[in-house]
Amino acid sequence: MKKYILQRVLISLATLFVILLVLFILMDLMPGTPFNDEKLTQAQKDILYAKYGLDKPLLTRFFLYCKNMLKGDLGVSYAINKNFAVSGMVKDRLGISIAVGGMAMLIGTVFGLLLGILAALKHNSWIDNLCSAISVFGVSIPSYVCALLLCYFVAYRLNWLPILYNTDQPFISLILPAIALSVSPTANIARFTRSEMIDVMNSDYILLVESKGVKDWKMIIGHVLRNTMIPVITVMGPILVNLLTGSSVIEKIFGIPGIGRLMITAIQENDYNVTIACAFVYSLMYIITMLFVDILYGVIDPRIRIAKEGD
């Protein structure tokens, strides 16, 4: 098992390196430059290019970037907050996005699993239909519509929660964005749990457990859920990454200075260093999550665990 994990970690590092290189090449291909502006002359643009070292060949810049990155230096912003250290910009905003995303994931997982399990246990009853309808609406109504509805009714009309994000009461003012963000994950997880659980409950080993006389709830937790979780975790991984790296629309609506908004602006402004940093944070989270999912697989599924130990 240890050998397997070590091997996976090394491969992940290599993958990250490749992603970074690809990102660098993509940035180079991006249309426009950070300095396209009505008020700048060509001569000034050339000066800026030279000043930031963008006139050097791609590979030189790439290795310089890698070298600086190991020192924790992600370069400076060219367009969003000129000359700001990107590492600082990303660090400040990532924390908030992780907070909102984490809350949303928690809500999404709890409600998603509950809805899914309930629907599967009462398969083909009205509860099942209701749960299905909720999850279908959850994915077909965009999160920004839910967000504005919540703002209007919960915050504006009922005055229960603040409308905008507020640094004075970060937790309270992040509840609404987290709920709005969690709608789609709830629906996805519920839907997936339901169909997975129905599959598991129809399988022969559950029939065996049942005939052995294991109590209902014990059977559901110990046997059905455990086997349901394996594929569910596969879906949850990418959802988690997407939530943690911020949603630009939700951040826009609630005025949250998060990383999702930063990345969109960076792409629009062609701010290379910021775009690469944001994208790399995303990649890093994604790769780490995938690594965890793969390892968790082994822990939850005895068959895979044994197979890996045999390696």
Binding site: N36, E38, K39, Q44, R261
Partner: protein, 533 residues
Amino acid sequence: MKKFIAILLTLLMVVCCVSCGKKEEAEDVVIFQNENVRKAMSYAIDRVSLAKSLNDGSVAAEGIIPFKLASNPVTGQDFRDEQGSVVSYDLAKAKEFYEAACKELGKKQLSINLLYGTNEGDSVIKAAEQIAYYLEEVGFEVNLVAKQKKERLQLMDNGDYDVALTRWGPDYGDPQTYMDLYLSYNFSNNSGRYNSAEYDKLVLDAEASTDPSERWAKFLDAEKVLVQKDFGIVPVFQAGGAMIIRPTISGIHFHSAAVDNYRHIVGKDNVTLITNTDIVYLDYQYATDGTSFVAATLFTSGLTELDEDGNWMLDLAESVDVSDDGTVYTFKIRDDANWFNSNGEVVRTVTAQDFEDAWNRLISEELASDYSWWISDVLLAKEWKAVDEKTFQVTLEKPNGIFMQCLAFPSAFPINKDFIDEQGDQYATTAESILSCGPYILKSWTPGYSYEMERNAGYYFNSEYDAAGTAKKIVFRVLEDTQTALMEYESGNIDTVILSGEQVTANKDKEGFVNRLQGYLFYLSLNINHYDE
């Protein structure tokens, strides 16, 4: 096997896409050299209906010079009022010109690509759709090409477009800020390479002229040549800005051709304002955007500032002497003008040397400021020096009617060179790493969230500010979404809100509703001669 088919399919798609792309590029490249095409486009657009449906306070353009930009130096009449409209909407005429153009070019239908930016505001997207509709009414086939702003500018720079919906924001209140754009050798702004000897001569003569009314008359003629005679560009609309300001507060001075002045807000001690964009750069010599400039005018001061009507009044300068020929200005800087740090402590006094340093830094190549031309091209200054500690002298190339008003622009503000040298790379990256010499002090800045200004207790003007009941603290909250902003306003947490066109109808009767006119003029840039490069 299925995988193989999938790969094949992918390849097929790529080939399809590439061939589609090629087809689009093979457009008529010279149609805008035909005058009738340009005329047809100009007559086709119903600018009044278009501006009305934008519904955000925008107005139909009547020429390339916007309303309330500049007024006649002698009579004081607005340029636009004096000139009248040089564009008109006439569907029948447009169709006539279109038919004629088709005949001359030997085509059944003329097809054009209309380039516009998708992240330049909702009104741009709406306007582009409407323009396309009006052009199609006449007979054109219009493909809308949506691009991000930076890419749009790149395409225009390369001449890789037919027609583009673009805009210009005036830097100062004079027709010259627009007229310079279409000089035949202005390759940075004249993307369509409009080329007219007559226009060049009029503009250059005007700029060389020392007689203000002759200069003015030549600008009037130049606009007629550009818009009415040659149809070199097609003006569309002037941007508006609908907003609600809490009725209890007042004193925000909006200027369509200068930086808005927020220094004199009265009616409330703690004011929270909405801004839909964040500060880009605190270093006002480097900044290019309105938000950064508004912030800069709060925490720093120049020799002059603008009042409600856009007239200049002295600020850090105590007095000014002008030589008889109008070319040498001698400013006496106030004794009580000081630099303050973010805690409000006096660092040292503001000297004439600070102005000299500032202007030298602005034009220096290493700073590469977007406004490096401000001193020479707008102020027309050729020499500037600190005569003694508090005396600053500027020599102009020739008399300049807008000199004093343009000193109120942040690019002409002083800097504290010692502090900049001390801070190095960190200068102007946080509230602590910039000095203040204005009526407010930047207390904090959280990028993407908010920045706070607190009244500067040591500012010379303070007693009068106190007497007027000027706001003690101004918080700018960065928020892009107009719908949550309106809810927040109605809950009483913020004091201004910017409205989108969709919200205006329902809110225009509310108390505090303002329809301000902005200086931005949106026009169609036609690619006349920019193909062969």
